[in-house]
């Protein structure tokens, strides 16, 4: 470090602390607003049915070894047989999710609400930070970094002579944005823990075809190897009992 900057304590009191506090409070506010805006959807019967069906099939798959081979075969046939198995989706009946979305305005509305509740607070805070706090050297990271990080950490101040570990206020905002997730998960419960990244994922997977997951479930059901656990359980019980007797 070539030279140490002397920062005004007023910057701490009027930039660093308020910025961090506001970020936390906005996170909390966003959580509650999101909670308020979440409409209680009346789920479509067909979709609920399919979801439950998949859960049932998954349970069967997980617990397959605890039932006799015959019972497993029966259940497997019930789920996967080619004529009227529950997981079997007839060709041509698969609905196009895109078309379904357009036919159901509620779904699009919900999606938009979710996105808006994410984007609006972020743009607003960013604008607010830009307006009030642009150009401050607000903080200093306590470990050395290479020049590559300059663009990331000193966003908003164009001084090439300042040591890289000094952080501009705008970059402090970004650091808060990413680093506070852990804190939010602690104070707001786990619903919020994975909101941003998770929502991105949801957006990516949005318009996913429910029939696809049905047929995927069917495939994995078909390749499962069945091995009844009961014979082994006898051994296990014997072990346990022997232990008891020894004591």
């Amino acid at each position: 470090m070539a030279e140490d900057l002397v920062l005004d304590t007023a910057i701490r009191d009027w930039v660093l602390i308020p910025l961090s506090v506001v970020m936390v409070l906005i996170g909390v506010l966003r959580y509650f607003v999101g909670k308020l805006m979440r409409s209680s959807q009346t789920a479509d019967e067909k979709i609920v049915k399919e979801g439950q069906l998949i859960i049932r099939a998954r349970n069967l798959r997980a617990a397959a070894n605890f039932i006799p081979a015959k019972s497993f075969r029966l259940r497997k046939a019930y789920y996967t047989n080619e004529e009227n198995g529950l997981l079997h989706v007839p060709k041509g009946q698969a609905t196009n999710p895109q078309a379904q979305m357009f036919s159901d305005p509620n779904m699009a509305m919900d999606m938009m609400k979710k996105n808006l509740s994410m984007i609006i607070p972020q743009t607003l805070t960013f604008a607010w930070v830009n307006f009030f706090f642009s150009g401050f050297v607000a903080a200093k990271i306590p470990f050395p970094l290479t020049q590559r990080f300059r663009a990331m950490l000193q966003n908003g101040i164009d001084l090439s002579t300042v040591d890289v570990s000094y952080v501009s206020s705008r970059s402090w905002y970004f650091l808060n944005l990413f680093g506070l997730r852990g804190l939010f998960s602690l104070i707001l419960g786990d619903e919020n823990a994975m909101d941003d990244t998770q929502r991105m994922m949801q957006m990516g997977g949005f318009g996913m075809d429910p029939t696809k997951s049905l047929s995927a479930e069917k495939d994995s059901m078909e390749i499962i190897q069945h091995e009844w656990a009961l014979p082994k359980m006898g051994q296990r019980a014997e072990e346990v009992l022997r232990k008891f007797v020894k004591q």
Binding site: R12, L16, I17, L183
Partner: protein, 117 residues
Amino acid sequence: MATHDDSRSPQKKAADDIPIYSAENLQSNMKSIYYSRTFLSIIGGVVAGIWGISGWTGFIVYFLVMAFASLGLALKAKFSAHKYFDSWNRVLFDGFFGGLMSFVLFWTFAYDIVHIF
């Protein structure tokens, strides 16, 4: 460290290979691990910042804290991890890096407030 131990926790016997888990309990145990690690990384960050630790020493502190967390979790599970988790790796390494961002943020924050200005 609020490691949540249910009496009905997933059990597994090493002798035979059929795993018997209760998925929900396993999940809840993992969640407690995640919470305790996040909590410790935030607290550790603040403490490191107030002590004025700077440079790479800070990261060493982070790893010490995480190792301490692993030890505490193992202690809480009474060193029989298989009773509560499906493998030892869950206790020792799960979420090892998850708290790093929080740690760095709170470390920087406390360090700046106390030492820079």
